[in-house]
Amino acid sequence: MSQTLGQRTASWLNAVGRSVWRIGWPVTDKDRAAVMISSIFLHIHPARVSRHVLRPSATLALGLISGILFVVLSVTGLALMLYYVPYPPEAYRSMKDLQFVVTFGVVLRNMHRWSAHGMVVVVFLHMCRVFWTGSYKAPREFNWVVGVMLLLLTLALSFTGYLLPWDQLAYWAITVGTNIAAYAPLVGDRLKFLMLGGHFIGPMTLLRFYVLHCVMLPLLMLILVSLHVWRVRKDGLSGAEVHRAPAEPAEEAAGLFPASTKTHGLMALSRRPRASVEARDPNDEVFAWPHLLFRELLVALAVVVVLHVVSLVFMAPLEEMADPTRTPNPAKAPWYFLGLQELVHYSALVGGVVVPTLIVAALVSLPYFDRRRAGIGRWFAPERRIANTIFTVLVIISVGLTIIGTLFRGPNWAWVWPWN
């Protein structure tokens, strides 16, 4: 059979393609299932998902949005690293260069800053969602703990990045933040000394924060995010679980749904008492390709478009160069710490040390104390009224304190009305 040159070229190209992609563009169900596990990037997803979790109201895609923002931050951050110089006063000069002479420097810098702030907000909302849907309960306790670690990492990344512009806003915000940290008993001063790389904020501090911000914390974030997403896969989505089929029958299921006849090629024997692909009602499942992926793409696109609009309209602040001899009045921590700074205003120990420690301890230990299995996967389940109420009240207090610290505090931390 002699093929034409064109046919031979086409099949050669096809072979090259197959060597890279392994599975071509899926058109059959088998391919749709296979493509998920044949690609390193795609096999985060299961081959099939419950269609109930495709609804926006299931999780509001907050976790996904956080992930997307992290990717945006990494990409924009890498780009900015080519022009930013982590040595004062060159740091400030390089910020001005980004603003004035680097093509798209303004847009990239703005995007980096607004997505950083956005990520703190989204991560917080994600935590609220997880709580309100009871998705921290068994078997997802450890994932919740990893999530708390991720929240702290997000705050740490934002904080370390806050110093890098080396302007008055950055310098004094970090002064306040590190001084709050110094209130920790026993280790406070050492902690501050280690953070600053000395006794005052200077070139060594900037270098430390830069390395933390660009290398150490992102690496840690990558590892923990991978762990977090892997656990989501293993533990399953609570939103799907709630629609689970009745408890596995023995005989009638055996006829219709043979157990463990998956053909997905898993090598390990995984112990899955609950939340497993077979246990769900197969009528509720759809292929991840294209349904989940398409929706993920839309979310990503929406996030990118919104970020572009925000970056073009709102300029990230850049004040005068950092001047250790001139303190702005008031000197405020980054906004996500302003609730703490408001508390610190009353008592440094309580506000700066006790309250944050209690909050973190409470969050981390929550799933190990709340062992009741009721209400998983549903928003504001009535069985969990008490827990939800307590949590909501705490959220409102934190948000309220942050708003007070941001808008209602002026020079000398005196009360002001923001419309004055």
Partner: protein, 674 residues
């Protein structure tokens, strides 16, 4: 086989629609980003310049136009500056654009020749945000978060002063005036001011005040110095009545030096007309103004009679250095009668109430009042300007002004003044009304005019916090002090030559004749004659050398020393053997060059320069020749023209001038010859 039933679901249409909308939105927004970058303000400006270049038709520029495009940057790592002003101001260094509209216009003046942009950039002189590339962000107008927006041209000399540290920098008249005002007002006595170290400003010593002044005068002076002396350098310390009273008591109890004995003087026979003659002879008005006219080296004497006790004035005129060792006033050689006449004249002529009976100096007994006065004296820092034994100088009472131009404007109290908060506005207000800016201040009110305060602010605005690299700083070394010893030194000190004359730049500038080469300029005998009786060589000069009433031996000592030491070797050894032909040629040249326009010879001629009839008895030929050849070397800015004389012509003129006044015949022939 398919175990799982695939739901009938390609995605609902609305998702596709959402995808389409988002995709298009992304595309539109991104296109806008690209468009925004391409239409940056500086690109438009450069396009304008390219069009202008075509009209300028300078072949060099047209070749240059290939270079227009892209950002332009001057990077000065030594100064820590990055200036991108040249991106829009493309014609700044090209004379062809002198009449072009801004921002293409050439820089004014010759500033870019002396300050090439590749060494100085732009913002070192003009301030502004050099790194920016558009009008608004470059802080052409004040911008938020820009500490130093572009400076208005009226105050740009403040930036000259950051590099040019001399008191009187060239081509910066406002700055020079400001610095001069600071020196005159003695700000550095109370404030540490970089650039004004080592200067001394002294008010009169107060250790004999009990014998010196009338009590009523002292009280009114302490209350407001300007009530007595309009040009008072002492400010109004805003003392309370109690403080004045106790300070008065303290000061009047200072009687360290008893006035010289004047009991032998018969005051009733004082001849005020002789006093007036002496007053004119001694040229007191060269330094002391009366009725608004005269010099400013010493205090005005318009109302001296209200202030001074008679015995003290007599004693002071007799020997000023006894009471005020570092006063610039010289000690004349007058006898007691002359002193009596002069004293009487001064007290009668220059007082508001005529001759009044003086109260005798009272002995102040109230120890508590005296102690209270001493406390006021110490607290207000009077010691900074007035020496008083027994009070130690505990350092400057005002804050240091180093880096004052970079003080944080938000930390300075502005009181209720509605002005933009800048360090310079603060300095200006502080100079005008030190006590009205929010916080109580012990700085006296000096009563500066707003113009003077503006100049001083400009001078102070050059005091920056950051150091400049040494290669950028221009600070001429201070003149070496000249303090001769021996008999000559004694005489120089007595007659205070250096109050008016300078040697090596050190001394005063009231006289226009520095003494560095005076021995080569003047004939020795003439020096003696002149010192004994300083006549007028110029008609049109206000300040004259006083009649010292010197002894002949003193005059000779001066002349010997000056003629031996203050020489210029290039002028010594000039061959003065002139022929008559030389002199005739000189006379011709004198007429040809029109010297009579400015110089008087005999009875005709102009009044601009010195009269020349006596030149032969006054000036040495070496000096005459040198002066005629290159006058501006010896006096920069002189009105004497440089005729470009050949040495033969200069010699001829010298021959002619050296003959004048010697034997008399030259004057007659000069007057008659035409």
């Amino acid at each position: 086989m398919g175990v799982a039933v695939e739901l009938k679901s390609t995605a609902p249409v609305r998702l596709h629609v959402a995808f389409a909308c988002l995709g298009l939105a992304f595309l539109i927004i991104f296109s806008w980003v690209l468009f925004h970058e391409e239409t940056a303000e500086w690109r438009t400006t450069q396009a304008q310049f390219a069009r202008l270049e075509g009209t300028v038709k300078n072949p060099h520029q047209l070749a240059e136009s290939a270079r227009v495009g892209g950002l332009r940057q001057i990077w000065l790592p030594e100064l820590g500056r990055v200036d991108r002003c040249g991106t829009c101001h493309l014609g700044i260094d090209d004379p062809a654009f002198a009449t072009a509209p801004q921002p293409h216009r050439t820089h004014s003046g010759a500033w870019l020749t002396t300050h090439p942009p590749d060494r100085f950039g732009c913002t070192a002189c003009h301030d502004g945000e050099g790194q920016a590339t558009d009008y608004r962000n470059a802080a052409h107008q004040p911008q938020p978060f820009v500490t130093r927006p572009m400076r208005p041209l009226e105050t740009i000399e403040a930036n000259c002063g950051t590099c040019h540290r001399s008191i009187d920098p060239l081509d910066a008249p406002r700055l020079a005036e400001g610095r001069r005002l600071i020196i005159e007002s003695g700000c550095f006595s109370c404030h540490d001011i970089p650039g004004f170290e080592g200067l001394t400003f002294r008010g009169p010593a107060l250790d004999s005040l009990g014998y010196k002044v009338l009590p009523d005068w002292l009280a009114s002076w302490l209350e407001d110095p300007k009530s007595y002396l309009e040009q008072s350098k002492m400010g109004n310390f805003r003392l309370s009545a109690d403080e004045i009273a106790s300070l008065q008591g303290f000061l009047l109890s200072q009687r360290a030096q008893v006035p010289l004995d004047s009991t032998g003087v018969d005051w009733k026979r004082a001849d005020t007309r002789n006093g007036r003659a002496l007053f004119g002879e001694m040229r007191c008005v060269s330094c002391h103004a009366v009725n608004g006219r005269g010099g400013t080296m010493g205090p005005e004497l318009t109302r001296i009679g209200d202030k001074i006790r008679r015995n003290w004035l007599f004693s002071y005129l007799k020997d000023p250095h006894r009471v005020q060792p570092d006063t610039p006033m010289l000690q004349y050689r007058l006898n007691d009668e002359e002193l009596r006449d002069l004293t009487a004249f001064l007290l009668e002529e220059y007082s508001s109430a005529g001759a009044v009976a003086e109260p005798p100096p009272a002995a102040y007994q109230d120890a508590r009042a005296i102690a209270a006065g001493r406390a006021v004296f110490e607290r207000r820092g009077c010691i900074s300007c007035h020496r008083l034994p027994g009070i130690e100088d505990s350092g400057r009472v005002g804050p240091s002004l180093a880096g004052v131009a970079d003080r944080d404007p938000d930390e300075l109290p502005y009181g209720s003044e509605i002005v933009r908060h800048t360090a310079e506005n603060y300095i200006f207000l502080k100079l005008l009304m030190p006590d009205a800016l929010g916080l109580p201040s012990s700085m006296p009110t000096f009563g500066f005019t707003p113009a003077d305060a503006a100049r001083m602010t400009l001078a102070l605005a050059s005091l920056r916090k950051a150091d400049l690299p040494a290669s950028y700083v221009l600070k001429p070394p201070p003149p070496k002090p000249y303090r001769p010893a021996g008999r000559f030194g004694e005489l120089m000190s007595r007659y205070r030559c250096l109050s008016c004359h300078s040697v090596g730049g050190f001394g005063g500038d009231l006289s226009t004749v520095p003494l560095d080469r005076i021995g080569s300029q003047l004939i020795r005998d003439y020096i003696v004659t002149y010192l004994l009786n300083p006549g007028a060589v110029r008609v049109s000069v206000e300040a004259r050398m006083p009649v010292f009433h010197m002894q002949p031996d003193e005059a000779n000592a001066f002349a010997d020393y000056l003629s031996t030491v203050f020489l210029d070797d290039s002028m010594e050894g000039y061959d003065a053997s002139f022929t008559a032909a030389d002199a005739r040629r000189g006379q011709e040249l004198y007429l040809q060059l029109g010297c009579a326009a400015c110089h008087q010879l005999g009875t005709t001629g102009g009044y601009v320069g010195p009269e020349l009839s006596t030149t032969g008895t006054r000036l040495k030929p070496g000096w005459i020749a040198a002066w005629l050849t290159t006058p501006s070397v010896y006096r920069p800015g002189t009105l004497q023209p440089d005729y470009g004389l050949s040495s033969a012509d200069a010699r001829a003129l010298t021959a002619y001038l050296s003959g004048l006044g010697r034997s008399g015949q030259a004057t007659a022939s000069a007057g008659g010859a035409r």
